[in-house]
């Protein structure tokens, strides 16, 4: 059982001042290096003495990883080290991609958003209490899931795509970015690669010890949002136990363009339902061309939860997700 000691294990603190320098340090130290953005996930692990990296690469001094840069084509590039507060308050994002500012604004507390970064928020680790406590579960490299046992506490855990591990991804900005068709820019020793936001995440069936595709030496440098859904109709809703400050039990993000009352183009994603933020492609296909109303929302909600398998204490997530999807598509004013 982990005990917070508030004294971190010793490590070499490396503070690069450029992306190139950071990249070089990560390449040199490989799997011995721990990448720290805002530190809000990292310090939990380090103070609990569960993760004991030999080297900590602190990116807070890399200015080129910070800032919001509107692109000439109407899209925007956000440096991975941009704080959530900047993302929330940036006028260009608020005007064109309000879905992201809504999602980011619902993350944690104002203090945490001042320190937390968009790169850190999308890359944070699972919040399963057994895993965070340092128990040797599947996600920690062991051979059991303590949450998925007859007496395990799994109220916050997965209802979809669980494979041995039932932890969920806790990010609030991730589903918004998936809905906005964002691309993640990853710098690696082999060069730069750009992946779709939804492909940045990985499920336990593929890799049970990671939530994303970053390998040792990789660095998420920026997030690019294309103009595709700029100024579209957005819906973001987060359900949590404490409205002032908590991780999502479930959240939903939806971006759509509507013409003549019918859904023209739509992307929708949920988080808190699986180990990766889920883009609901079946829902998107169903809703395309249909009127944006309650009837479409109801059917879409049913589609969204197909295949859901509840654990002992999280069956509530199935009607919750069904209703969130329904509200996202129909619009909350229609269904309430």
């Amino acid at each position: 059982m982990a005990v917070i000691r508030d004294i971190m294990p010793a490590f070499d603190l490396l503070q690069p001042s450029s992306t190139a320098e950071a990249q070089k340090l990560l390449e040199q130290n490989g799997s011995d290096a721990w990448v720290m953005a805002g530190g809000l996930d990292s310090f939990d692990w380090l103070k609990d003495r569960i993760k004991k990296p030999r080297v900590l690469v602190d990116l807070s001094g890399v200015e080129e990883l910070k800032g919001v840069r509107p692109a000439s084509d109407g899209g925007v590039e956000i440096g991975a080290m941009t704080t959530l507060t900047e993302v929330v308050k940036h006028p260009f994002i608020r005007q064109h991609f309000a879905l992201l500012s809504q999602g980011a604004e619902l993350a944690a507390s104002p203090q945490i958003r001042n320190q937390g970064t968009i790169g850190g928020n999308v890359s944070q680790d699972a919040r399963c209490h057994y895993y965070r406590a340092g128990w040797p579960c599947y996600r920690a490299g062991g051979n059991i899931c303590y949450a998925d046992t007859p007496t395990g506490r799994n109220r916050e855990h997965a209802i979809l795509h669980a494979d041995r591990c039932v932890a969920v991804n806790p990010s609030d900005s991730a589903p918004a970015l998936i809905a906005l068709d964002a691309k993640f820019v990853i710098q690696s020793p082999k060069g730069q690669r750009v992946v779709d936001a939804e492909d940045y995440y990985i499920g336990p069936d593929i890799d049970i010890t990671h939530l994303n595709i970053l390998k040792p030496g990789d660095l998420l440098t920026a997030i690019r949002i294309p103009a595709t859904f700029a100024g579209a109709q957005f819906y973001f809703e987060k359900i949590r136990d404490r409205n002032v400050w908590d991780f999502a039990l479930l959240n939903v993000a939806c971006a759509m363009t509507v013409s003549g009352g019918n859904i023209d183009k739509m992307r929708i994603a949920v988080n808190g339902a699986a180990a990766r933020p889920l883009r609901l492609q079946a829902v998107e296909q169903y809703a395309q061309g249909k009127p944006r109303n309650a009837a479409t929302g109801v059917e879409a909600g049913k589609l969204a939860v197909q295949g859901a398998v509840p654990l002992q204490f999280n069956a509530y997530k199935i009607p919750l997700m069904r209703n969130l999807v329904k509200r996202a598509i129909a619009g909350v004013e229609v269904t309430t």
């Binding site: 059982m1 040797p136 051979n143």
Partner: protein, 282 residues
């Protein structure tokens, strides 16, 4: 380097959880080295095979042109087992060496196929075949001693021709039985930890230490099978053994090869026996 990975259970117990995955490379390299050394030995140092005496002409005359070796049922078992085994190895170890994919379902399905095929084989071999033909006997030991003496330059009569299976085959079979059964038995229990729809999920079936040891034994058997399968495929592809490999496809081997390598008194083949039927010992 430790060969095991350890962790502390929630109750503070120091328990093994896995083998060290570096053992994958150790076994693969070990298997490869064996193949290289053996290939060099056969190519440059090994003498011609010599056997004591020669077949009695009257007996040889009764041997059919194609000597039945493996029945259709035995061949089907072998290839189903081989497919399951290769699937198990690929699904178990590719993700560990950097080729991630959704492997668990494929793995347990292949494991279930292997388990059923092995159960079939045990029953088939015990009641319908000559069960003892695959186990070393006294003559094998005596011939092994003769070979060793001759290898060391001592005077010794040439070994006799083989029964249906040479001693090396029997020894390999014995090792495969041990590692295979270890992997299967532990694998069946491990299926209680995942949702398969076959066995009820029960992660509390054993304590942490027992589960840990089970994973370790499964892992050790698994990496051992990497080397064993490499060796098996290597011998199956060697030119001098290829007749035996073909017999596992077509069911029979040529009379000449049979008379040259096998002792009709130790592996009797009745005249007129069909080349596609079951032999006395399969």
């Amino acid at each position: 380097m430790s060969i095991l990975q350890w962790a502390y259970s929630p109750w503070g117990q120091h328990v093994p959880i896995h083998i060290a995955w570096a053992l994958i490379y150790v076994c693969a390299v070990g298997g490869l080295l064996f193949l290289i050394v053996h290939a060099i030995y056969v190519r440059y140092f090994a003498g011609a095979e010599e056997f004591e005496g020669s077949p009695v002409p009257a007996v040889a005359a009764r041997v059919p042109d194609r000597v039945p070796r493996h029945s259709l049922a035995a061949r089907m078992f072998h290839w189903i087992m081989a497919a399951a085994m290769l699937t198990l190895l690929v699904t178990a170890f590719l993700p560990k060496v950097g080729v991630p994919f959704a492997w668990v379902t494929w793995h347990w399905i292949a494991g279930a196929v292997l388990t059923v095929s092995i159960i079939y084989h045990i029953i088939h071999a015990s009641f319908w075949l000559d069960f003892w033909s695959i186990w070393p006997d006294k003559a094998d030991m005596e011939d092994a001693q003769r070979r060793l003496n001759r290898f060391l330059g001592k005077r010794s009569p040439a070994p006799r021709r083989f029964a249906k299976y040479p001693l090396e085959n029997k020894m390999y079979h014995g090792v495969i039985v041990l590692t295979g059964l270890a992997a299967i038995l532990t694998g069946v229990f491990m299926m209680f930890r995942v949702r398969t729809g076959i066995l009820p999920r029960n992660p509390y079936l054993f304590g942490d230490m027992t589960w840990g040891l089970m994973y370790v034994l499964h892992g050790l058997a698994g990496v051992g099978l990497i080397a064993l399968v490499m060796v098996h495929i290597y011998f199956a592809m060697r030119p001098e053994k290829f007749v035996i490999t073909k017999s596992m496809v077509f069911g029979s081997m040529p009379k000449d090869y049979y008379l040259q390598h096998h002792d009709p008194e130790r592996w009797a083949v009745a005249q007129g026996e069909s080349s596609t039927g079951a032999s006395a010992a399969d």
